[in-house]
């Protein structure tokens, strides 16, 4: 075992980019960074859902006083880089909030969430919610509008109120249809947490960068990449699975999957040899 590691470390490229020794030593700090990123992601995403749904309904409103601010918000956020938004929100937040200094230095501000100071965490989550809310709003809106008008009419013709029709007929169908896209947004948001390294939040990427600066070695980044993949790969597969399942429920037909193709190929081969 030691011999193998020694051999690997002797190869310059392997040593510089994926040194087993350095990655192993980085693991505790990277794990801390992963927890911080995951905490930002989960809290940020959960709060984005109501924000996105609200913005979606506002954008679908017939009333321009409600619709125009939502349209502006969604277009602005989706049309500008997240890094710029983070800088504005992260450093703008304290300027805007009365009593921020007292909060940040007070007992609550000194608490830490997954290793991040509360005063930093709040601002980071605000940036994520404002950003992700705009993307989710468009996902929700497109989903709701993809449900045929006849569904709402059928519900209304049975005496349901608009709210009931939304709750029992439109939204359940929408969620089913947009679940894969919502999960893709979750994955994207996770990768976006890396940008918080720019404002000094010790998430995964900043942890890796700190070790890299100390060792002049790229391996911690590769270690960090491993942590990102730990979440994005299985979730990506889940999205693909959900999409296939959705296709079944929408068309009533099982898509021809890999096993099926293999079985047919085997059957054909058998036939040919017989």
């Amino acid at each position: 075992m030691e011999g193998i590691i020694e051999y690997l470390e002797s190869i310059k490229f392997v040593h510089l980019f994926m040194s087993p020794t350095i990655i192993w030593q980085s693991l505790p700090l990277l794990w801390k960074g992963f927890q911080a990123a995951a905490a930002l992601l989960i809290i940020g995403y959960l709060l984005s859902l109501p924000a996105g749904l609200t913005a979606a309904f506002m954008k679908m409103s017939k009333n321009p006083i409600v619709r125009i601010p939502a349209t502006f918000y969604i277009d602005f956020i989706r049309g500008t880089p997240l890094l710029v938004q983070i800088l504005v929100i992260y450093f703008g937040f304290p300027l805007l909030m009365p009593g921020w200094r007292e909060f940040a230095t007070g007992p609550i501000g000194q608490l830490s969430v997954a290793g991040i100071d509360m005063s930093q965490f709040v601002r980071a989550v605000a940036a994520l919610v404002i950003n992700s809310g705009a993307y989710l709003a468009e996902i929700f809106r497109a989903g709701i509008q993809s449900i045929s008008k006849g569904q709402l009419e059928a519900a209304r013709s049975l005496g349901m109120t608009t709210m009931q029709a939304m709750a029992y007929v439109i939204i359940p169908q929408t969620v089913r249809r947009i679940l894969p896209t919502m999960m893709s947004e979750f994955i994207l948001l996770f990768k976006d947490t890396a940008l918080f390294f720019a404002v000094g939040i010790f998430e995964l990427t900043l942890q890796a960068r700190t070790i890299q600066a100390r060792t002049f070695n790229m391996s911690p980044y590769i270690g960090a990449a491993g942590f990102y993949l730990m979440l994005t790969l299985p979730l990506g597969r889940l999205v693909a699975y959900l999409e296939a399942k959705l296709a079944v429920s929408e068309t009533g037909r099982e898509p021809e999957n890999r096993q099926e193709r293999k079985r047919r190929k085997a059957a054909r081969a058998k036939e040919a040899s017989a």
Partner: protein, 245 residues
């Protein structure tokens, strides 16, 4: 005093932007009457039907269902809609719910009936359209004709006083039309008040108490099916019937 009309439409106008689709329609439907509405596409027949339960907002005119004015914004439209069943060309079953749950949903949420009772009504309703064996099946697994029968059962479960049928067989393969028409005939024989927009002449002859011919946003001619089909007076009616025969 004559018996109170089930549906009364007075000088109904409806415009979509600059396009005037209904140009003053008057129609009275008595309890138990089956009125078949015919006419070329774009004549306004579907729009008129959709105004009756205010899926379309009339531009002007008044509509009454029994004692209630549909067009009065003070009336609770949801209460009226619960008494007016509607079946659509495109079925509009809720795809995320089984046949039984499709029928149960409004019973539970609008009529606030207990789950057990709603289930009972749903199963009886599905049996009535010959689909009690499909109660737990999702719409996607049903044929068009079966879906439309579930849609009829869903509307009937609310115990409506009048039923509106909007070209309900137009989206069906020819061999599936009959099973739906048979259900509708049964309903008519049972005394249900029905407004039926259709192109099915055979159905109209068999069960309609009155045939109404619409064109260009007004009623051109009406009478018994025999009068309208065999001896039309209006030039447009003659022309239309000549085309579809």
């Amino acid at each position: 005093m004559t018996e109170q009309a089930m549906v009364r439409i007075e000088d109904l106008h409806k415009s979509f932007g600059a396009l005037e689709v209904l140009k003053g329609v008057d129609l009275e439907v008595a309890r138990g009457e089956v009125v078949v509405i015919l006419g070329p596409s774009g004549s306004g027949k579907s729009t008129m039907l959709r105004c009756v339960n205010r899926l379309e907002e009339p531009t002007s005119g008044r509509i009454f269902i029994e004692n209630d004015e549909v067009t009065d914004h003070k009336t609770n439209i949801n209460h009226i809609r619960a008494r007016v069943g509607m079946v659509f060309q495109s079925f509009n079953l809720f795809p995320h719910l089984t046949a039984k749950s499709n029928v149960m949903l409004a019973l539970r949420k609008v009529k606030k009936i207990s789950k057990e009772e709603a289930e009972q009504i749903a199963l009886e309703g599905l049996a009535r359209v010959g689909l009690d064996d499909k109660a737990d099946v999702y719409p996607i697994m049903l044929s068009g004709g079966q879906q439309q029968r579930v849609a009829i059962a869903r509307a009937l479960a609310m115990d409506p006083h009048v039923m509106l049928f909007d070209e309900v067989t137009s989206a069906l393969d020819p061999e599936l039309v009959r099973e739906v028409l048979d259900v509708m005939k049964g309903l008519a024989k049972g005394g249900m008040t029905m407004l039926v927009v259709t192109h099915e002449m055979g159905f109209a002859r068999d069960v309609a108490s009155r045939a109404v011919f619409m064109d260009e946003g007004v009623i051109q001619e009406q009478g018994t099916p025999e009068e309208v089909f065999d001896n039309p007076q209006n030039e447009r009616t003659k022309d239309f019937l000549g085309h579809i025969r």
